[in-house]
Amino acid sequence: MKSSVMRISNITLVGLRAIARNKMRSFLTALGIIIGVGCVIAVVAIGNGATKSVENTINSLGTNYIMLFPGASTSSGARMFTGNSTLTADDAEAIKAEAPAVAYVSPTVRAAAQIVAGELNWGTSIQGVSVDYPLIRSWNVSQGTFFSDQDVKSASKVCVLGNTVAENLFTDGQAVGQIVRIKNVPFKVVGVLEKKGGNMMGQDQDDTVVAPYTTVMKRLSGKTKIDMIQLSAASAGQVQEAQNEIDAILRQRHRIGPNGDADFQMRSQEEIAQAQGQQTAILRMLLLVIAAISLLVGGIGIMNIMLVSVTERTREIGIRMAIGAKGRHVLLQFLFEAVTLAIVGGVLGVALGVGASLAVKHFLQWPIVVTPASVALSFGVAAFVGIFFGYYPARKAAKLDPIDALRYE
């Protein structure tokens, strides 16, 4: 007997016609996948965007960046500020003088204050730093100059404004040379920093005022110890060397033996990146689970409607079988319908997801990164879901008895 092998093109024709015949049902079937895939892409894009911006911020610190904090290092590595700082400006001076692998050192003190300029005022954070600060952070002034080493030595009442502060206090853009009052102390504005944008926490890095640390300690905070020291190694390859030198110098200065608990701790840019990377990994994991669940729900939706569809179309299946469709043809047709709906749903879902991501980027100004991998993955999963959840209803259809199916009302 001649075995009839039905061409794939014929199956696809039959399947496409069946889909086109009931557009509403087809749309509802695909809807679960559309939403599932759209959700995955948008969520992954937002997650990637967050990760990316964190990476950017950390990378912008520079690969030779090191932070030095007061306080005992704990086994968990958590940063802890004890009540009294153990670091002094002299420590910073000593490191700069004695550690060859360290290029720049800036003691850092922080204070929060309301800044007044004429009728305007603005609440922000004041950072007391040294002249090395712009070199460590690769952060230049866009107007005026940074304060000088002489300003630091003599604790001059000068400051450099972050871009946001300058814009809010001097709407005409003429900040340099003006006087601002911080806690009633008049400061002369010598420069404005370049715009830097948000950091990893979403904080505006430009919402700051930078002044000599000596001035901040003497005039604003009244502290004698500093909050932290920011440094940069001479080169990226010398970060570890620099950390070892700093450790040795501080242990000597603070009289701590090589085995004693240090009263300070260091974080290199790499270590900060690692710590952030762990957090991001957890975030990504969470997003992946949400994505998997939404696609699963979409798949079950397909199976559900395909099952109903098989029952509803029993008679159609009977007709097809009576005029010569084999079980395999019916199976392939229903499978093809499910996969097509899943793939079309996938495509629409990708469009929806990318659209939603762009909308979020545009309206909320969030950093969004749509990766081809997430598109390819969710698309592939959608097709797989179509096959997996389409198979059972398709097999049910293929196993119908033509006599019963024809008689089905």
Binding site: S4, V5, R17, E316, I319, A322, I323, G324, I403
Partner: protein, 253 residues
């Protein structure tokens, strides 16, 4: 001697309903020549439907032999029967059984799609058009079932049955859902197709309808009770709104 389209010997069919065995067919012998117009009559429960299912290769007999167009089909499996149904049988059902929301032409093409005769889409479409023209549906090719009357829908079904040029047309109560005037029309189409050489087997319980055939077989209690040639009640084809065109193949022969 004319070719035999149906050759049935000692056909039985037993359904097992739990403990009880129901003998739907209890030894049927039947010979049908090519070009015959046979009506199978019988009340419900006579085994008529079972016979129709087996004749149509939808079901398998419990015992006995069935040669359809010279091929023994009594032992074929599901898929093999599907191939035979496609190639050798043209079904016409009581409730038309067209695909909903599908044009007449696409409905008629369907058996060609499953048959895989190696035809292109254009060839299939042309064959479907020819079949529709033969049953008098020129100009209605792209109408959907819902846009056609009952009689027109049944004509589409007949065109679908014809399109593969099967060994026989198997019509199961084809006029059951139609009024008497339309019924006449449909029987006229069957007669015209029969005149052009097509073997027609008609299953019906209505004596009036059976009168349109040339031979009537009556089934009762699973056996053939009567088998007689009759004077065919002719339908005047000229009286029908849409006449039946001759089969193109026959016209050139």
């Amino acid at each position: 001697m004319p070719k035999k389209v149906i050759e049935i010997h000692g056909l039985t069919k037993v359904y097992e309903m739990g403990e009880v065995e129901v003998r739907a067919l209890a030894g049927v012998d039947l010979l049908v020549d090519e070009g015959e117009f046979l009506a199978v009559m019988g009340p419900s429960g006579s085994g008529k439907s079972t016979l129709m299912n087996i004749l149509g290769c939808l079901d398998r007999p419990t015992a006995g032999s069935y040669l359809l167009d010279g091929v023994d089909v009594s032992t074929l499996n599901r898929d093999e029967r599907a191939v035979i149904r496609n190639a050798k049988i043209g079904f016409v059902f009581q409730s038309f059984n067209l695909l909903p929301r599908t044009s007449a032409a696409e409905n008629v093409e369907l058996p060609l799609i499953y048959g895989d005769l190696g035809w292109s889409r254009t060839e299939r479409h042309k064959a479907a058009m020819d079949a529709l023209h033969r049953v008098g549906l020129k100009g209605r090719e792209h109408n959907h079932s819902s846009q056609l009357s009952g009689g027109q829908q049944q004509r589409v079904a007949i065109a679908r049955a014809l399109v593969t040029d099967p060994a026989m047309l198997l019509a199961d109560e084809p006029t059951g859902n139609l009024d008497s005037r339309t019924s006449e029309e449909i029987m006229g189409i069957f007669q015209a197709l029969n005149d052009s050489g097509k073997t027609v087997v008609l299953i019906t319980h209505e004596p009036d309808i059976a009168q349109h055939a040339k031979r009537v077989v009556t089934v009762r209690d699973g056996v053939i009770q009567h088998d007689e040639k009759i004077q065919q009640h002719r339908v005047d084809v000229r009286g029908i709104a849409a006449p039946v065109a001759p089969m193109p193949a026959e016209a050139t022969r």
